[in-house]
């Protein structure tokens, strides 16, 4: 009797497990298949001369990666060398990340710790600010760039875009970092004051190390958003030599007749490298964030 009910229970548990697996397959695995197929296509395409059935590579070659060491030509048109373009993109991404981290770590601290008039209003305003997509700002920003004399000035235009992009990213980053500051108990700050710190020293020696995971997250996110910025560069940068990678890839896709899919795939992969690095590195950082800022 008892034995039978045990067996029954075992079958039930097995069935439940099967159901769970089925749901996971349905919700998480199956929708991911096309995405993985696309990545698979990208990789195999970039290393092969010909592709069978859209996924199997044949005729292994590095020819598609020739843009790394020789000028890029598609049909009649010659594109700028990849390395200056990469440097532009890197400059944009690093500039945005640096500026965002610098400003948001200070403003996040102020919003979390200091009591001043209009603090609540400011925080609501920050959230509202984030609700606007940057598209609707394009014209207004154009006017501003023009007034500042940064439009059509080559490298200085890129600097202007760094400023704009950082300005758009800072509200959200401030919000995220504020959360990290909120998690630090007042006691800790007070203890440092009693131990003999000035306010600035408290920030540098006690608070900053504790919000480091948050700053890490914000810098990674803002780096990626600068790296993938398209609209602003596309709109404001006139000269080809100041293009960034997304804009150049866009222009190459626009080439209908002589389009070279193999090279485009390789280029796409090249462009994705920072993202891939990010995900392998950030897993650890993001996990540490989850564990909590203040827990040693």
């Amino acid at each position: 009797m008892a034995r039978e009910s045990l067996r029954k229970r075992k079958t039930k548990a097995l069935l439940r497990r099967a159901a769970v697996v089925a749901v996971i397959l349905l919700v998480a695995v199956i929708p991911a298949i096309p995405i993985w197929m696309m990545y698979g296509w990208l990789v195999s395409q970039s290393f092969s001369g010909r592709v069978i059935l859209g996924i199997l590579p044949s005729k292994l070659t590095l020819d598609n990666w020739r843009f790394l060491w020789s000028p890029i030509k598609m049909g009649e048109k010659e594109y700028p060398n990849i390395w200056p373009i990469t440097m532009n993109t890197l400059f944009l991404a690093l500039g945005v990340a640096g500026l965002v981290v610098m400003v948001s770590s200070l403003s996040g601290y102020a919003l979390s710790r200091m009591d001043f008039k209009g603090r609540t209003g400011m925080m609501q305003f920050i959230i509202a600010l984030h609700a606007f997509p940057s598209v609707i700002l394009l014209i207004a920003l154009f006017v501003i760039l023009n007034k500042l004399g940064l439009y059509g000035k080559g490298f200085m235009t890129l600097v202007g875009i760094v400023l704009i992009k950082a300005g758009l990213e800072i509200p959200m980053a401030t919000w995220i970092i504020k959360g990290f500051f909120d998690a630090i108990p007042w006691d800790l700050e007070w203890a440092a004051l009693v131990d003999g710190c000035s306010r600035w020293r408290v920030w540098r020696s006690v608070i900053l190390p504790l919000v480091l995971p948050g700053i890490g997250a914000v810098s990674i996110f803002s780096f990626l958003s600068g790296w993938s910025e398209f609209l602003l560069v596309f709109t404001y940068v006139a000269q080809e030599e100041y293009y960034t990678l997304p804009v150049m890839i866009y222009h190459m896709i626009g080439e209908f007749i002589h389009i070279d899919w193999g090279m485009l795939a390789a280029l796409g992969l090249f462009y994705a490298i920072p993202t891939i690095i990010f995900f392998s590195v950030s897993q650890k950082v993001l996990l540490r964030i989850y564990v909590g800022g203040v827990k040693g």
Binding site: D187, W190, A192, L193, V194, D195, K295
Partner: protein, 362 residues
């Protein structure tokens, strides 16, 4: 070492009056406990002495120097927080060394002092660990070490033992008291545990709702509570308190409540009757004798309600009319619930409080 004076100090947070007109003098090398229920303003007081909060009104003096506007770092204070507030990203060693580093003490000297303090507190095995890898008692000792290492003029302790288990608490109680006497540092110790305050402090400041109730040594506090709050707060089990009136009959004064009548010692009655007639009678559980059979004439008769054995003594709950008395009796006394007995309060140890003001009248 300094003398700390709080001169009419108040602290308001908007409408909340956390501390009101506090006057306190802590003498050089003295160990003073701030005692009171949760939310009575103990931590706020401590943070004002530390310089974290600026008093809304009043002055704070170290010796004769007004430090009210001095930032915390210039006060040379050591503080242990309720939460210990160890720096989670630093090792125990770095935690203790931090105040010295800020003072720009030379490296070798830091090393020597940290090791010395660690040895004193028996945490020299833990110097390489992070705070997250320590037990509560170890954290508390590290926090104490960090407060002591810079040889402060004033040591502030905010409920440092509240996170420890009962056994460790008793151990650390003696330890802290010994350390304080050995080093002779002026110390303010915040606690809501009266046993802790009574057993450790030279003097106790009892606070309630932001106001100082009484500031005296433990014996005085116990034997001569200044008001109802102190009487009820100090002592465990607490003092028996009964509302009633002073009534005169043929030149003798009686305390009369709804359930019994008790003759007051001669002299006491007149004294009180001249001030007020509505009073509260207070008698500590150990100051009432249980009398079996016939006793003196001035006794209160009641019936045994419940008997709680406490090991060393019995805590006897006695019903007198509607009033419940708690009485400590010798453990060998045989009592049955429902049994009729007589209560004889010790005349010399009764307390009477003015019912309106709560102040003690004798």
């Amino acid at each position: 070492m300094v003398r700390v004076t709080l001169d009419n100090v108040s602290k308001f947070f908007g409408k909340v009056k956390a501390v009101v007109d506090l006057n306190l003098e802590i003498r050089d090398g003295e160990f003073v406990a701030l005692l009171g229920p949760s939310g009575c303003g103990k931590t706020t007081t401590l943070l004002m002495v530390a310089g974290i909060y600026k008093p809304t009104r009043g002055r704070i003096l170290f010796d004769d120097e007004d430090v009210t506007d001095l930032p915390p770092k210039d006060r040379n204070i050591g503080m242990v927080f309720q939460s210990y507030a160890l720096y989670p990203h630093m090792t125990v060693y770095d935690n203790i060394a931090f105040p010295l580093k800020l003072k720009k003490v030379p490296r070798q000297e830091i090393d020597r002092k940290v090791k010395e303090v660690a040895k004193l507190l028996q945490i020299d095995e833990l110097l390489d660990r992070k705070p997250a890898q320590l037990s509560g008692g170890q954290r508390q000792r590290v926090a104490l070490g960090r407060a002591l290492v810079k040889e402060p003029d004033v040591l502030l302790l905010d409920e440092p033992l509240s996170n420890l288990d009962a056994k460790l608490r008793i151990l650390m109680r003696a330890e802290i008291k010994r350390l304080q006497k050995e080093l002779g540092i002026t110390t303010i110790y915040v606690t809501h545990d009266q046993v802790e305050a009574m057993s450790m402090a030279d003097k106790i400041a009892v606070m309630n709702k932001g106001r100082l109730q009484q500031y005296a040594d433990p014996q005085t506090l116990y034997n001569k509570p200044a008001n109802l709050f102190v009487a009820g707060f100090i002592g465990s089990p607490p003092m028996n308190l009964v509302e009633g009136n002073i009534v005169e009959e043929n030149g003798t004064y009686y305390f009369v409540s709804s359930s019994f009548k008790y003759r007051l010692p001669s002299g006491v009655g007149e004294l009180i009757a001249s001030e007020t007639s509505s009073v509260i009678l207070g008698v500590r559980p150990e100051d009432i004798k249980i009398v079996l059979g016939d006793g003196d004439d001035n006794v209160i008769s009641g019936t045994v309600y419940v008997v709680e054995p406490l090991g060393r003594d019995l805590l006897v709950n006695v019903k007198v009319g509607e009033t419940l008395f708690k009485i400590l009796a010798p453990a060998d006394l045989k009592l049955e619930p429902g049994q009729s007995i007589l209560l004889a309060p010790n005349e010399k140890r009764i307390h009477l409080f003015d019912r309106k003001t709560g102040r003690a009248v004798i």
